[in-house]
Structures are given as C-alpha cells and as structure tokens.
C-alpha cells in the first residue's frame, strides 16, 4: 500500500443533470469529516456488533458484561472493515479499522480509571464515618466492628511533611543548578536523576533501612520520610526544570542588565515568576510519594496504635495500613482496608486537582511564554 493511493471521494448521490454547476466544487473536501454514507456504515456495523454479540450471549449462556463488550467490539471491527472495503477500498477500510482501535484504547483508559475509582468508592463508602476517621486500631480485635484510620492519617501527614521539607528545597536547587547555572556536573547530575526516577521504591526503602534503621536508629516516621524524599527528588527536579524552561530569557537578561548578580536574578526574578509551576511540581512529587507502600514497610514498619512522634518507634501510614489489613483473611479487616483506600484516593485526588488548578493559573499569568 503506498501513500500515494488516493482516498476516494465519497459517493453520495450527485445531481444527474450535466449542465448544472458541479456542487462538489463549492463544498471544500474535508478528509476528516464523516459523510452520510460513512455514518450509515458505522451505524450498521454497530448494530451488527450489538446484535451478533447479543445472540451469541443468549446461545452460549454468557453472562459477563465484559464478554459481551469484547465480542461486540470484534464483530464491529470486522463489519466496519468489510463495509468500507466493499464501498470504497482496502486502504480506507484499514484506516477505519485503525481509527476504531485507537478510539477503543482511549475508551479502555477512561473505563479502567472510572471502574477503579467507582469500585473504591462503592466498597469504601460504607465504613467511612466520623468514628472511623478519629479512632485507631489499638483497642479493636480483628473480628470486631469499629476502629479506624486516624493513626495512619497522622503518620501519612507527618511523613509527607518530613519528606517534603527534605526533598523540595534540594530538588528545586538541583533544577536551578541544571537550568540556570549549568555547571560542570550538569551532565552527570541529569544522568543520575534519570537513574533515580526509575529507582524501584522498594530499593529506596532498603537503602534507608541499611543506612538508618540498621545503624541503631530503629524504625520511625522520620526513616519513612527519608525514603519517600528519595522518591520525590527526581519527580520534583524534572518538573521544576521543565517549569524553569518556560521562563522567558528576557526576564533574566533584564535582571542582569539592571546590574543584579546571578543569585539575585534567580532568587528575586526567575523563581518568583515560576512560583506556581514550582508549587505544581512539588504537589506532583507529594502525590507520587503519598501512595508508596513498599519503602514505608521497610522503614516505619507500621503500627496499629497512634504514634505522634515521627522520631521514635514504628509508625503507620495510609498505604501500609491498607496493605497490612488486606493480608489478614477476614471480612471486617478487608472492609476497613477499603475505607482506608477511599481516604487515600480522596487525598490523591485533592492533590491532583490542586496541582492542576495552580498549574493552570500559573500558565495564564505567564501568558503565552511557551
């Protein structure tokens, strides 16, 4: 199939009389707009898919909705290909087949997300109440009702605070080093940030375990914060560097032209201008770290009662709380895990929306600099 093969013009009926002005010339040919005959074909194929799959489901006693969807899609693909091949050409038919597949992959992504969010809400909403949010698991037997997530929420907040305080300044200064200073080490640092961004989270946990927990410090929320900071640094650095790239060079030059040394131009011009972008970068880093289970498992160990001090003794956090409850085989614990999952998902959603809103406002303020 060569690229030069012509895409046939549609075959909608053209007025017969030869002496009239040809109508097609007045209507510009828009290759991406669907004409009526194509719409009819799509409808026909969809009808074929739904009825074909429906008949098969009745014949073979299939009950799952997913089975129906898969067969309907397969029959739809075959019929849309054959219809287009018959009315136009194999090239158009292939094009339409691929278009359908590409749309399907978009649909799958949205469907997976909606299914997952919906599932967590449905499973978790029942157990979510004031008592659940304000009590811990210390006085609850595995089979009892009651108990809650408070200790895990406290742990999550403290660990995220520690991780943010440690990692965000380092990450932003690294981004400044990479993009503003462009020092001698920039190549190596970029290489290492790449390596870090692919670091499995459990390896970060093992590292802090060997250099901190094993060195007599014991498990603590601080150790978990250290491990999470390692995971946040590459994310925040990367995003922050992208944000610094969007700042207009004119601003830097103006600052220098006014006689400001580089550090003042960076601290008082570049970073304030990029502020919303840097906040977005930080929130994205927090959103990544807040859901990590494995490093916290190795550094804070988890606990069922509240531990206010992040510097001393085992501490729980939300993902670890869910993980440890899920490994126990009884329905009450698993129901608690689902409610915990709902809290965690809500937290991630809030962070995500916050990052979006701040990021978009910042993009408006900066105008079309990019």
């Amino acid at each position: 199939m060569s690229l030069l093969d012509e895409r046939p013009v549609d075959e909608t009926p053209v007025p017969e009389p030869q002496d009239q002005e040809p109508i097609e010339e007045q209507v510009p040919f828009r290759p991406r707009a669907l004409v009526r005959s194509e719409r009819v074909e799509i409808l026909l194929a969809a009808a074929a898919g739904v009825t074909g799959s429906g008949v098969m489901c009745l014949l073979f006693d299939w009950t799952h909705a997913l089975t129906f969807a898969i067969w309907a899609l397969l029959i739809f693909l075959v019929s849309i290909y054959l219809l287009a091949r018959d009315s136009q050409s194999p090239i158009v038919a292939t094009d339409r087949l691929i278009t359908t597949l590409v749309w399907t992959s978009g649909g799958i992504a949205v469907a997976v997300l909606a299914w997952m969010l919906g599932y967590v809400v449905v499973k978790g909403i029942a157990g979510l109440n004031y008592e659940y949010l304000t009590s811990d698991l210390s006085k609850v037997g595995p089979l009892d009702d009651g108990g809650g997530v408070f200790h895990a929420i406290v742990g999550t907040l403290e660990q995220m605070l520690i991780a943010s305080v440690l990692s965000i300044p380092i990450a932003i200064l690294t981004a400044v080093y990479l993009h503003e200073i462009r020092g001698r080490l920039a190549g190596i640092v970029r290489f290492v940030i790449d390596a870090m961004s692919g670091l499995p989270s459990i390896v970060a946990g093992l590292f802090i375990y060997t250099v901190w927990v094993l060195q007599g410090q014991g498990p603590s929320g601080l150790a978990a914060g250290l491990a999470l900071a390692i995971l946040m640094i590459p994310t925040v650095t990367r995003t922050a560097e992208e944000m610094l790239k969007t700042i207009d060079d004119g601003l830097r030059e103006s600052a220098l032209a006014l006689g400001a040394p580089q550090w003042r131009s960076v601290m008082q011009v570049v970073l304030p201008t990029a502020r919303s972008g840097l906040i977005t970068a930080s929130i994205l880093g927090v959103a990544r770290a807040v859901g990590e289970t494995a490093p916290v498992l190795l550094t804070a160990f988890g606990s069922s009662s509240i531990n206010w001090s992040p510097f001393n003794g085992p501490q729980a956090d939300l993902p670890l709380y869910i993980y440890q409850l899920l490994r126990q085989p009884n329905p009450a614990q698993i129901a608690r895990a689902w409610s915990g999952a709902l809290v965690l998902v809500l937290l991630v959603l809030i962070l995500f929306v916050l990052a979006r809103v701040i990021g978009e406002r910042g993009a408006r303020v900066r105008g079309g600099s990019r």
Partner: protein
C-alpha cells in the same frame, strides 16, 4: 561610523553577543549551594549501590555468589539462598505487562495526539495523568477483587482455544487460574501505560508537522500518514518509552505482592496460579526476616537495583538522543 566593527556585524547576523558576567561573592556561595544540592542525588545513588553491596556480603558469602544467581531456593535456617526463579519470574511478569501495555499505550498516544477532538483530549490527558498518580496499592486491591474474575475467564478462553501456542498451556488441565503471572502482568500493564503513553506522545509530537501534512496532502489516509511518517520518525523514541515501561514493571512491588500466589521457583505456565518477582520477595519476606535472611533480601534488592538501572539508563539514552536529533 565604523560599519566593520564586530558589534555591528554581530547585529547584522543576529548573533547574541556574549554577556560579560561578573561573578560576585554572593554568586559563588549561591552556586556552591546549588551544586551541593545537586550532589545529594549523586550521593544517594552511589550510597545505595555501596551500602546494599556491603550488607549483601554475608548472605552472598554463605550461599555463594554463583549459586545465589543460579539456584531457586529460600532456606534462611540453613543459609541457602538462590534467586534464579525469581529473576525469571520478574522478567515473565514484566514481559506479560509489556504485551498488554504497549498496544494500549501507543493507541492512546496516537489517539491523544492525532485522533481526538479537543474536548475529549482534555479528559483523556487528565485520565492518563491521574492513572499515573494512582497508588500501586489501589491498583493491587482493585486487580485482586475486581479484575480477577473477568481475567480468569479470558485465561481459560485463551487456554481452551489457543493452547497450540506454548505460552497459553497449563501444567494440568484443571490447574487453578487465580493469582497467576498473567493477572499480575495485566494489572502492572495498566500501571505502566501512563509512562509509555506520555513519553511516546512527546516523541511523536516532535515530528515536523509539515511532513505529516505533506503525507495527507498527497492523498494518504490518516493511518497511511501514521505508518509512513509518524511511526518511522518516532521508532527509536517509542522503543525507549517501552524500555522505560519495562523498567517500571521490573520494580513494581506491592501490586505484585498482593495478587500473586508467591513461589520461589519459576513458573513457566503464565496463565496458572503461582509466580514471583524479586520486589515481591522483599515485601513478603521482610517483615519476618532475621539477620542472614535480611542480608539475602538486600542482595536480591541489589540485583533488582542493577537490573532496573541498566534498563532505565538505556531507555533514557535512547529517548534523549532522539530529542536532540529532532
């Protein structure tokens, strides 16, 4: 009026002249500060390799370096450790996840960049970003409770109709199909779709628009344009994106640990219950581990670290090269 003066020449050629910079003391302090922040990352990566290696020595000495990588045993009381089966299991799970994720991710990238109307594009980019932000524990529990039933159906269908392909065979006709490498691989696939999608989108967006439009103007169909212009242009970058996804899949821990029925030995029957990976070994064995076993887990972590480091750096090198070329 000296028209030949270098400043004027530079002006005519539109070359920005060098800015003469005086480096003040404040600047020097500031640069040192930034450089030391940047150096923290160097220390972390170097420290990880160093400390894991030091702590891995006791177990490796006891079990023997060679037999640690060529046997499949886990016997902490005797001090006999071997991770060959888990290395194979890790690669099996990552491969299954790539097979599921790559078509989906590339379809998504094409959809967002080329096919979707503007309004749907916004919804879709947000969905992909949110999918990337979802904690792996959520993927794990959703996969375990919601996705297993339909996937077992798919698995038994594959085994029933396509068992001519060795990939879809079972060790015995009615072997259990729950908690298999196939199910874990599918869940991990959904977790690595966002990274493959976003990197290949970036790569494909760099294709000169004029070339794409030229292909369409010559009468090519949209698929013709993608096949002849976009994909050849993005081939190297998309390979890099897939490798990045592979690296993520290798290191995925909690979703695997939750779903898989853990075994030390490699299970070549992908559709069948049982399997394992290095990362899930660490998560599952760590809470009860003692001295020598901890050292063995650290040795396994070191192997995982080396593996993901190689894959990731290779992938980034490929992606970066295409970005410079563009």
């Amino acid at each position: 009026m000296a028209l030949t003066s270098p400043e004027l020449q530079a002006l005519e050629e539109q070359v920005p002249r060098d800015i003469a910079r005086t480096v003040t003391r404040g600047d020097r302090i500031f640069r040192t500060l930034c450089a030391s922040a940047a150096a923290v990352s160097l220390f972390i990566i170097g420290g990880t390799a160093l400390f894991l290696a030091i702590k891995a020595v006791p177990a490796l000495q006891k079990a023997g370096l060679l037999s640690f990588f060529t046997t499949s045993v886990w016997n902490p009381t005797v001090g006999d450790f071997g991770v060959l089966g888990l290395l194979i299991g890790t690669i099996i799970i990552a491969t299954v996840s790539l097979i599921v994720a790559v078509p989906l991710a590339i379809g998504l990238a094409l959809f967002i960049n080329e096919y979707s109307p503007a309004r749907i594009r916004r919804i879709l980019t947000s969905s992909v970003d949110l999918l990337a932000a979802m904690p792996s524990i959520i993927f794990g529990m959703w996969g375990f409770f919601a996705l297993q039933a339909p996937l077992v159906g798919v698995a038994s269908w594959l085994n029933l109709h396509l068992s001519a392909i060795p990939f879809f065979r079972l060790s015995e006709p009615d072997a259990p199909l729950l908690r298999s490498s196939f199910i874990v691989g599918t869940v991990v696939a959904l977790m690595i779709v966002p990274i493959i999608t976003s990197v290949s989108r970036d790569v494909m967006a760099q294709c000169p628009r004029s070339q794409c439009e030229a292909a369409l103007a010559l009468g090519g169909s949209r698929w013709g344009m993608i096949k002849e212009v976009l994909l050849p242009f993005g081939k190297a970058g998309i390979t890099g994106a897939i490798l990045l996804g592979f690296g993520r899949a290798l290191g995925e821990t909690i979703a695997v640990a939750l779903i898989i029925a853990f075994t030390i030995e490699a299970n070549p029957y992908v559709l069948e219950q049982g399997g394992g990976s290095i990362a899930s070994l660490i998560a599952i064995k760590f809470p009860e581990a003692q001295d020598l076993e901890i050292s063995a887990l650290i040795a396994a972590g070191l192997a995982l670290f080396g593996m993901t480091l190689l894959v990731n750096l290779g992938a980034r090198a490929i992606v970066r090269r295409t970005q410079i070329a563009a």
